[in-house]
């Protein structure tokens, strides 16, 4: 509790994300917060957490202070159990070997669809974003956690372009489209933690981050939010969590 004023938005995002991962799980982590959070979880008493990276890595232990600049760099392979082709590591998702896909997001909508391709009309975009990478594959093939900054322009009713499918148009539309497995089940921001309604597949607030009000979350969201019946308040980051995190990312590469 005493540390509540002493962490950045990126830091609480990372800590809460790390908490969502369990020892023994196989987690396919994207670059940035997901990589850092999964590494943090390993260091916080979950050494049996296996991290997979898109570059073609199974079971890496990233070294403190040596965060890789992408998931395709050699630093991702340090003390890994296996290095393999990048299509082959994605096929592990398709086959079903991976428990959790864990990605950042640029823009998300009420059904958990992610856009990382276009702002505006795809034929004449206002902004051409980087694109899918493995994002489409991960979200199509695996149960997924998204960690992202909470801003009104990022939390929209409907994304301009579905790069990575959440529940598409809700209900059974994801399964009907040919995606019977996986789906986003958690969205973690610096304000709150979200889940999805089992039937409508619409996003809902599960818990508020320490010191954050429901109103504040709604104000930063571009559509009317649903709050779970039993909305809780998340425990603030502990000193151990923050210290370990700062040891891992001393230059604040991902937690600026």
């Amino acid at each position: 509790m005493t540390s509540s004023n002493r962490y950045t938005a990126s830091e609480i995002l990372t800590v809460l994300s790390a908490r969502a991962l369990e020892n023994g799980q196989l987690v396919f982590a994207g670059i940035g917060i997901p990589l850092l959070a999964a590494t943090l979880a390993q260091r916080l008493g979950r050494p049996g957490l296996t991290i997979l990276f898109e570059g073609g890595v199974i079971g890496a232990f990233v070294e403190p202070g040596k965060l890789p600049p992408s998931t395709n760099d050699q630093r991702c392979t340090k003390r890994a159990n296996m290095v393999l082709g990048s299509a082959d590591v994605l096929l592990l998702l398709q086959r079903g070997y991976v428990d959790i896909g864990f990605m950042g997001g640029a823009q998300i909508d009420q059904y958990g669809n992610l856009n990382s391709s276009f702002i505006g009309d795809p034929d004449a975009p206002k902004v051409r974003l980087p694109g899918s990478g493995g994002g489409n594959d991960i979200s199509s093939l695996t149960n997924m956690i998204v960690a992202m900054k909470h801003e009104k322009r990022r939390f929209v009713e409907q994304v301009d372009f579905i790069t990575s499918p959440g529940y598409l148009r809700g209900q059974n539309s994801r399964t009907d489209a040919g995606l019977p497995a996986g789906g986003v089940f958690r969205v973690i921001t610096e304000l709150a933690v979200f889940g999805f309604d089992a039937e409508t597949r619409r996003i809902k607030v599960l818990s508020l981050n320490p010191g954050v009000t429901a109103e504040e979350v709604q104000d930063n969201t571009g559509f009317p939010l649903t709050f779970d019946d039993g909305v809780t308040v998340t425990e603030p980051p502990t000193n151990e969590e923050l210290e370990t995190l700062r040891m891992l990312d001393p230059e604040r590469l991902f937690t600026a």
Binding site: G32, G56, V127, N136, T163, A177, G178
Partner: protein
């Protein structure tokens, strides 16, 4: 041929039958190798993001003024900037195109794509992999279970939604990609082109098999005897390879697994310069670092000894226990 058209089996086989696939020495200069890439070709690029990018060859293609290439790669970073900004590529086929998580969007890509003078053809990462793999297998497509339902699917009518005749399930058939030429950087190979790749291999093996010709740049040319002592370490076989060029630090300023990490000061200065002005900044970069040097070694000396040594120290530390 449009870059998304699938070649007929007859064409694939005829093109391959014409190649001299025999065990023969193929060592050429960087200049000669770049000459094998001709205007308008489809070029597959090895490595991924900032790893084992065949930078020396891309650098030489820009110097030689190659034009209208369609380049494909699993993930594109500053190599894509140079291909667009250096005027050699009109189209890049990939799954992700940015300068890297540390610097965000590529202003160079945005400048050219949003203006409409260059094209970025987007596929999912797995789809890129299965396109190269189908090409390498000699089949016209492979089935995948991603891209379905997303807006990527209607964006890419080259892929076909398909009802599985075995299970009735929906699948996506992605078309084979057989580039005219592949350019791949490796840690070592012999004069015939038998290549060893350490660490991350990305999609390079499929790409080498898929392409209708392959240029290897290599940190080091080793003897065929050395290759034959560990045949299960060979990742690309000689008969896929048409040219071999020895270029130490040939992926600079990107990394080469186990040898050097990215040269980050150079990269940061580059990004700051081209993001400030994607046209003039790029022009200044090209003038100084691409057109300026007499040869690749002189380019390395512009990066500077301190960066090269530090990147090498970091790169080799992969093998520290």
């Amino acid at each position: 041929m449009p870059s998304s058209d699938v070649q007929s089996y007859a064409t694939l086989r005829e093109d391959l039958a014409k190649r001299d696939r025999s065990l023969r020495e193929k060592v050429v200069s960087l200049e000669e190798a770049a000459g094998l890439v001709r205007d308008g070709m489809q070029v597959g690029i090895g490595g991924s993001t900032m790893s084992r990018t065949p930078m020396a060859l891309i650098w030489e293609l820009i110097r030689q003024g190659r034009k209208q290439l369609s380049c494909s790669r699993c993930i594109v970073s500053t190599d894509g900037d140079l291909l667009f900004g250096g005027g050699v590529a009109d189209e890049i086929v990939t799954s992700w195109f940015a300068q890297g998580i540390l610097w965000g969007l590529s202003k160079v890509m945005r400048h050219h794509v949003e203006a409409g003078d260059k094209r970025y053809q987007e596929w999912s990462h797995l789809a890129m992999g299965m396109r190269f793999r189908a090409g390498g297998m000699g089949v016209p497509f492979l089935p995948i279970r991603s891209m379905l339902g997303s807006d990527l699917m209607p964006l890419r009518p080259e892929a076909k939604e398909f009802d599985c005749p075995f299970t009735g399930e929906k699948l996506l058939l992605v078309p084979a990609l057989n580039p005219d030429v592949a350019i791949i950087h490796v840690q070592r190979c012999d004069a015939y082109g038998n290549a060893q790749i350490d660490g991350l291999q990305f999609m390079d093996i499929d790409l080498a098999l898929a392409a209708n010709s392959v240029i290897l740049t290599t940190e080091r040319i080793v003897s065929n005897d050395q290759i034959r002592r560990m045949p299960d370490h060979t990742k690309i076989p000689f008969m896929c390879v048409d040219a071999v060029v020895e270029v130490p630090y040939g992926a600079a300023p990107h990394e080469c697994y186990g040898l050097y990490e990215p040269m980050m000061k150079h990269m940061e200065a580059y990004v700051a310069q081209v993001n400030a002005d994607p046209v003039e900044g790029m022009k200044a970069y090209l003038d100084r670092f691409v057109y300026g040097p007499k040869n690749w070694t002189e380019f390395l000396s512009l990066i500077g000894m301190e960066e090269i040594v530090e990147a090498s120290r970091q790169g080799r530390s992969m093998y520290n226990d």
